[in-house]
Symmetry: C2
Subunit: 334 residues, 2 copies
DNA sequence: TTGAAAGCGCTAACAT
DNA sequence: ATGTTAGCGCTTTCAA
C-alpha cells in the first residue's frame, strides 16, 4: 500500500504539497498539480482514511440508532439516511438497538470514542449521559420519527396528533362510532400523541371514548393479529379499527378474515405509515402516508449542520403527512 | 477529552501500562491495574478509536453491500449481520447500492482506504478491481445470498435450484401442469438457478416447459402485480404461479383478486423467502423459508475468519431451506 | 506557491 | 511487570 510519502517522492514534491493537491487543488500551481495527480495515479494511491480521520479529528461517520431494521418503515428511513450521508461524504454506522436503552447508551459511546461524529436517534430516548459532551456544545444528535418532548437536540417528525385526528375523522365521517385503536408501545410519545388525536376527533364528534377499545401493540403484524383476537371477544365489537402501523393493520385484517369477517363490510381497518405493502393488501389499506425517506434525509442534513457548525438551521422540523384513502375503510353496516 | 497520557499521569504509570491494562489486563499486576482503572474512571477516559484503528491498522468495521435495504428479506439479513458483528467487536457500515456496480466499486474502495476491513456483498458481483488486494492475500470479502459462480471468496447461500425444484414439485403434486414463474432479475444467478430447478421438476414430471409462462420481475410487489397483468392476457392461463419472492407473490395475489380470481381456487400462488408478511397474507403464503438472519451471522463469522486469519473455515457454505406450505396453493379446478 | 517539521493518540518493540 | 521510545499517515502551522 503506497502512502503520501511515496507519492511525494514520485512527484518530486513535499508531502504537504500532495496533501494540498488532494484537498484544495486550487491553491497549488497547475504544473505541480499535474505532477502530483500523475504520481497519485502511478502509485495507485488512496489516502488512508484512518489516518485522515485520526489527524483531522473527524470520523465522517454517522451512527444511526434504529429500534428495528426489520420494519419496512424504518428501512425506508435508513435508505434516506444512507443516501443523504453518502452525498455529503459521510458513512453510516448501523446500530440495531431493539429499543434497548443499554444498547443505545453503548452505541452513543461511539461519539465519545470518536468512532462517529454524531448520531441519528429514531426513538424517543436520549442515549447521551449528561456529562458526555462538552457543556456549551450542541449535542451531536438529531432525533427523528419518534421524538422526545424535551429533546436536547433538533428533531424531525410529523404532527402525529393531527394525523391521528385526521384519520379518525375520516372514520367518523363514514359513520363509525365504535372505533378501536391498536396502539404502539405504551410509553412512546407516538402512541400518546396519536391516542390524543384520536380522542380529539371522538370528542369533537360527541363520541364518548371507550377504553375497552384501546389495545396495546408494538407495530408488528403479530401484535395486530393478537389485538383483534381480543377485540373479537368484546360484547360490543368495534365497527372500525385504527392501527398505529400498517404492519399491525395487515395482521389485524388477517385475523378478521380468519374470523369470517369482511373488511371493510363488517369492519373497517386503517393503518399508518403507507408502507409498500399497503396498496397490495386485500383490501388496499387506508392509511396515513409518512415521508420516511425525507425523515432520513432531513435528519442527516440537520446533523451535519451541527457537526460542521454551518448555521444551526431549523431545529424542530415538522414534515407533512397525507391521508391516503383506499378500500379498507367504508361505511359501517346499516 | 482526556487521553492516555493524562490517565498515565493520574495513575503514576507509563502510557504503555495504561494501554496494556486496557487491552490485556492479565499481564499487569493487580495493584497497577487497580490504579489505572481508577484513573480511567476519574478521568472519564475513552480510548480514541480513530487513533487505535489508525495505529493498529484495523478499522474493525465491516462494509455491507446490499442491493436495497427496503426489502424485508435483506433487512433481516442485515439484522443478522449487525448482531454478529457487534458480538465480535465490529461495526457495520451500511452501503445501499441499489445494485449499481459503480456504487459497489466505490464502496469496495473503503477497504483500500482502510475505512473498512472487509465487505459482505449480498449480490453476485465482485466489486474489487483485480489489483485491489495484495496477491496471495485472500480477498477480504464474503459473498452471501446471491452468489457468484466463481466467487473469489467464501460464499453463503441456499441450494436455490433444489429449493425451486422442491417448490415446483409441490405444485405438480397438487395437480398443476401449467405453472407460470415470475422471475428475479434476468442476469441473477438466483434467477438462473431457480428457473433451472423449476425446469428440473417439470421435466421429471414429463411436462413440457412453456417459455410464455416465464415473466420477468425484480422481487418487488409491483413487479408481481405487473407480471400477472401479462399472464392474464395469455390465451391459456396458468393454474399456478411460482414467484421468486414473497413480495412479488403478494403483488401477484393482489392483481389476481383485482381480476376477480380466487387464490388458491382459481390460481395457486407460491412465494420465496418467508418474510414476516407471508403468514398474514390472504391467503397465507406457501413459500420457501430462507434463513435470512443466519445468512448474515454466518457471513460475518466467515469474514472475520479471513480478517483475523484464524483458520480458513469452510469456504462455501450452503444453508438449509424449508418448504412452508400454507393456504395459497391447492389443487387446480377440476 | 512550496517545504520543513510538529504532532494527533495510540501500540508495540525493545529495554530494563 | 513496567517504562522508553519510535513511529503509524496524515494535516497544518510556520517559515521561506
Amino acid at each position: 500500500m503506497s502512502n503520501i510519502r511515496k507519492v511525494a517522492e514520485l512527484a518530486g514534491v513535499s508531502v504537504a504539497t500532495v496533501s494540498r493537491t488532494l484537498k484544495s487543488p486550487d491553491i497549488v500551481s497547475p504544473a505541480t498539480r499535474d505532477k502530483v495527480l500523475q504520481a497519485v495515479e502511478t502509485a495507485g494511491y488512496r489516502p488512508n482514511r484512518m489516518a485522515v480521520q485520526f489527524r483531522s479529528r473527524r470520523s465522517h461517520n454517522l451512527a444511526v440508532l434504529v429500534p428495528t431494521i426489520a420494519n419496512t418503515f424504518f428501512a425506508r428511513v435508513i435508505a434516506g439516511i444512507q443516501q443523504a450521508a453518502r452525498e455529503q461524504g459521510y458513512g453510516v454506522l448501523l446500530c440495531n438497538t431493539l429499543g434497548r436503552e443499554e444498547e443505545e447508551l453503548q452505541y452513543a459511546g461511539m461519539v465519545a470514542a470518536r468512532q462517529a461524529d454524531g448520531i441519528i436517534q429514531l426513538r424517543a430516548f436520549n442515549p447521551f449521559p449528561e456529562d458526555a459532551v462538552e457543556p456549551g456544545q450542541a449535542l451531536p444528535m438529531v432525533n427523528a420519527c419518534e421524538v422526545l418532548d424535551d429533546a436536547p437536540c433538533p428533531t424531525v417528525k410529523i404532527d402525529n396528533r393531527a394525523a391521528a385526528r385526521t384519520l379518525t375523522e375520516h372514520l367518523i365521517a363514514l359513520g363509525h362510532r365504535r372505533i378501536a385503536m391498536i396502539q404502539g408501545p405504551r410509553r412512546s410519545p407516538l402512541t400518546r400523541d396519536r391516542v390524543a388525536g384520536y380522542r380529539d376527533a371522538l370528542e369533537a364528534a360527541g363520541i364518548v371514548p371507550d377504553d375497552a377499545l384501546l389495545c396495546p401493540g408494538d407495530f408488528t403484524p403479530r401484535a395486530g393479529h393478537e389485538a383483534v383476537t381480543t377485540l373479537l371477544d368484546r360484547t360490543v365489537r368495534p365497527t372500525a379499527i385504527f392501527c398505529e402501523s400498517d404492519e399491525m393493520a395487515i395482521g389485524a385484517i388477517s385475523r378478521l378474515k380468519q374470523a369470517g369477517l369482511s373488511v371493510p363490510d363488517d369492519v373497517s381497518v386503517a393503518g399508518f405509515d403507507d408502507i409498500a405493502f399497503a396498496r397490495y393488501s386485500d383490501p388496499p389499506l387506508t392509511t396515513v402516508a409518512q415521508p420516511a425517506e425525507a425523515f432520513g434525509r432531513r435528519a442527516v442534513d440537520m446533523l451535519i449542520d451541527i457537526l460542521e457548525a454551518r448555521g444551526q438551521g431549523a431545529s424542530h422540523v415538522v414534515l407533512p403527512y397525507e391521508l391516503v384513502i383506499r378500500d379498507s375503510t367504508a361505511a359501517p353496516r346499516a
